[in-house]
């Protein structure tokens, strides 16, 4: 079985990059605003659905991706303005219920419009790279690259722009940031916009690999929360590494223990990690530093 290890590790990296891509936006929003944004899974679903519809109407896939992602940004900002802003002082749990309710609403809207039948966008980049040790789809390599690109994009925004400075200031100390004359409302909107952009982009790309249906975001978002914790809250690089760790872990459990015990093995490791390191694998990262 060990001769299969290179292939299994490649499998794990491919799976992990999809996890990391979804977790990135969630970590950003949670890190800055402490909002458990469950509908991030639905933003992912909408990115996929919009792209599918546009491609079905004959649009080129690479043109459809940015349009769909931008459309998701609008939905993301709306989510915040409708569902979170009003009760921001009501405590994390009201925010969580609001998040769950919005998830349900978005899933149902999608069901009413597109039905619950699974469908997949036609892959724009078929073909497989085959080597002596492993094979990997070109499109999976593209997703890997997209994940790293998204992380770089967020890093540049946060660390090389005035907006990023303001976002980081807000995540560290709301009050102080306000006193420094930072307009919190716009920072909020910007944070949600970036989170939604990555979520929509993830869905837009992954919808050409995975089946699209209204509840497709449920599992990924649960896993994204796990990754968020493994990687450390608000630690973007941690989200990337955490995604890969989870992906490889799942593959190895499934390959070398049992595919029936995939979830048990994976989550048991998570539990053990948290018992040994109560603040996540990479420690409690100072938010977004």
């Amino acid at each position: 079985m060990l001769e299969l290890l290179p292939q299994q590790l490649v499998n794990g990296l491919a799976l992990g990059s999809s996890y990391a891509l979804i977790a990135l936006g969630l970590t950003l929003v949670f890190g800055v605003l402490q909002i458990p944004n469950f509908p991030h899974g639905e933003l992912y679903m909408l990115g996929a659905s919009f792209t599918y519809v546009l491609v079905a109407y004959g649009m080129n896939f690479w043109v459809a991706v940015p349009i769909a992602s931008l459309a998701v940004v609008i939905v993301g900002i709306l989510l915040d303005q409708v569902g979170y802003r009003r009760i921001d002082t009501g405590g994390n749990l009201s925010l969580m219920i609001s998040a769950l309710a919005m998830s349900t609403v978005l899933q149902q809207v999608a069901t009413l419009i597109w039905g619950a039948e699974p469908h997949t966008t036609l892959s724009p980049l078929p073909g497989v790279l085959r080597t002596a040790y492993f094979s990997i789809g070109y499109y999976q390599m593209l997703i890997f690259a997209a994940t790293i690109a998204c992380w770089l994009f967020v890093w540049v925004v946060l660390h090389r722009s005035r907006l990023g400075l303001a976002i980081r200031a807000m995540s560290q100390n709301k009050m102080a940031a306000q006193l420094m004359g930072i307009d919190l409302i716009w920072i909020r909107i910007a944070t949600f916009a970036i989170g939604a952009l990555i979520g929509g982009f993830a869905g837009s790309l992954l919808g050409a690999s995975f089946p699209i249906y209204p509840t497709m975001g449920l599992n990924p978002v649960l896993k994204a929360f796990v990754i968020l914790v493994i990687g450390g809250v608000g630690n973007l690089w941690g989200a990337i590494v955490g995604g890969f760790v989870l992906g490889i872990l799942e593959i190895l459990v499934s390959a070398y223990i049992s595919s029936q015990l995939q979830d048990i093995g994976t989550f048991a490791v998570l539990v053990i990690v948290l018992i040994v390191r109560p603040n996540g694998l990479f420690g409690r990262a100072e938010v977004l530093r």
Binding site: Q8, N11, A14, S18, G137, S254, D263
Partner: protein, 395 residues
């Protein structure tokens, strides 16, 4: 609490008065998921039943023992969840419904079973779930095939095509497939086919590469996939990407339209699907009743009926025919008529049930739909050359 009780009572009262106040009304209940993720399958079944009831009413109603009954279908939405299903069934029973079509979901079927077993004035015809042990043959019957019929279709294929070794991947959230997995593996081995691997996945999974990498290394001639078409298509794609060269055999209800939405047709070429024959099959084989439902369904709802429409359609005709034969709308009388019913007794059947001894439709409550394998070619499943359907029903 108070508000809810008032509202609930009002709701019950309204629905009861809407259907129960005229003697010639007869309400048939259904347990299908019309909301939630499984609604893709459940909605079609509900629509088929409503279409049939409407048509019967347009023709003056259902004639049972000289009385004309106007039919209505009361939908119990179970959302494919056990507790919701039990509540839906209880509500239907409270609304004086004595006949139930469904359920579809194998999570719901065993949950409602204890209630149905205890209720003598209730009759159930299962048109969806293939779970084990949910049919009692007294007041619950099933027109959908049993899990064994599904598995035997695959087994026949393997032996007929002299397949030497096979790997099996099962959706471990699919009750019917999981509960019959061991039996199936044993009968495959018994038939002289080597099982090189049994792997699992779950509906909603997006990555099967770990399992497929292992299975590929065991070099089986064929790979059997048991689950739903969304995952089926994805596994087929990933198997190809990982270099699996053997025959891929599906064991799942997979309407061509759903398949086409998830995998380029060229990649499907040669994939075989072995299951009981369903709607699209009978349409392709030009069975008149299937063509008729196809046309009527399309006219009313603007789309093709899904695979399960055939089961709901047949359940409707089997039940109403049994009522007419019994000359009664009392559940025990109708149940008795069902146990004595012959395949040739029922008009408008789409599925060409294999009759049991003496031409009977049910044995211990289970009907016997025939199964077959189809091969994907071009944009749809095709019957292998020489495939013919033995017509066992009036058409």
């Amino acid at each position: 609490m108070k508000m809810m009780k008032t509202l609930l009572t009002a709701a019950t009262f309204l629905s009861a008065s809407a259907v129960g106040s005229f003697a010639e009304n007869l309400t048939l209940g259904e347990l299908h998921p019309v909301t939630g993720p499984a609604s893709f399958y459940g909605l079609v079944m509900s629509q088929t039943l409503k279409l049939r009831a409407e048509q019967t009413n347009e023709k003056g109603g259902l004639d049972v023992g000289g009385t004309k009954y106007t039919l209505s279908i009361a939908t119990g939405d179970d959302q494919a969840q056990a507790t919701k299903g039990v509540a839906a069934l209880r509500k239907l029973m409270t609304d004086d419904v004595h006949f139930i079509f469904g359920p579809l979901a194998s999570a719901v079927a065993p949950a409602v079973k204890p209630i149905i077993d205890k209720q003598t004035d209730l009759l159930q015809i299962i048109d969806g779930s293939i779970a084990d042990g949910v049919v009692n043959g007294k007041n619950s019957f099933r027109v959908q095939a049993s899990a064994d019929t599904y598995n035997n279709a695959v087994l026949n294929y393997l032996t007929e095509n002299k397949v030497k070794s096979v790997a099996v991947m099962t959706d471990r959230s699919h009750q019917g497939f999981v509960m019959s997995e061991k039996r199936m593996g044993e009968s495959i081995e018994k038939a002289g086919v080597k099982v090189t691997g049994l792997e699992h996945f779950q509906i909603g999974d997006t990555d099967f590469s770990a399992q497929l990498t292992n299975l590929r290394a065991s070099m089986p001639d064929a790979l059997v996939l048991r689950g739903y078409p969304g995952e089926g298509a994805l596994i087929t794609k990933q198997a190809e990407a990982l270099g699996f060269k053997g025959q891929i055999v599906w064991e799942m209800g997979a309407p061509p339209s759903t398949v086409m939405k998830n995998i380029p047709s060229a990649q499907m070429d040669g994939v075989t699907n072995c299951i009981p024959r369903m709607m699209a099959d009978y349409v392709r084989l030009n069975v008149p009743n299937a063509l008729k439902l196809q046309e009527e369904f399309k006219k009313k709802y603007g789309e093709d009926p899904g695979e399960n429409a055939s089961f709901s359609n047949d359940a409707f005709w089997i039940l109403t025919t049994a009522m007419q034969k019994a000359g009664s709308i009392k559940a025990p009388d109708v149940a008795k008529a069902l146990t004595e019913m012959k395949v040739t007794d029922v008009p408008n059947l789409i599925i060409q049930y294999q009759p049991y001894e003496n031409g009977l439709l049910f044995k211990d409550g289970q009907a016997n739909p025939p199964s077959a394998c189809q091969v994907w070619k071009g944009e749809s499943w095709q019957n292998p050359p020489g495939d013919k359907i033995e017509m066992t029903t009036k058409n």
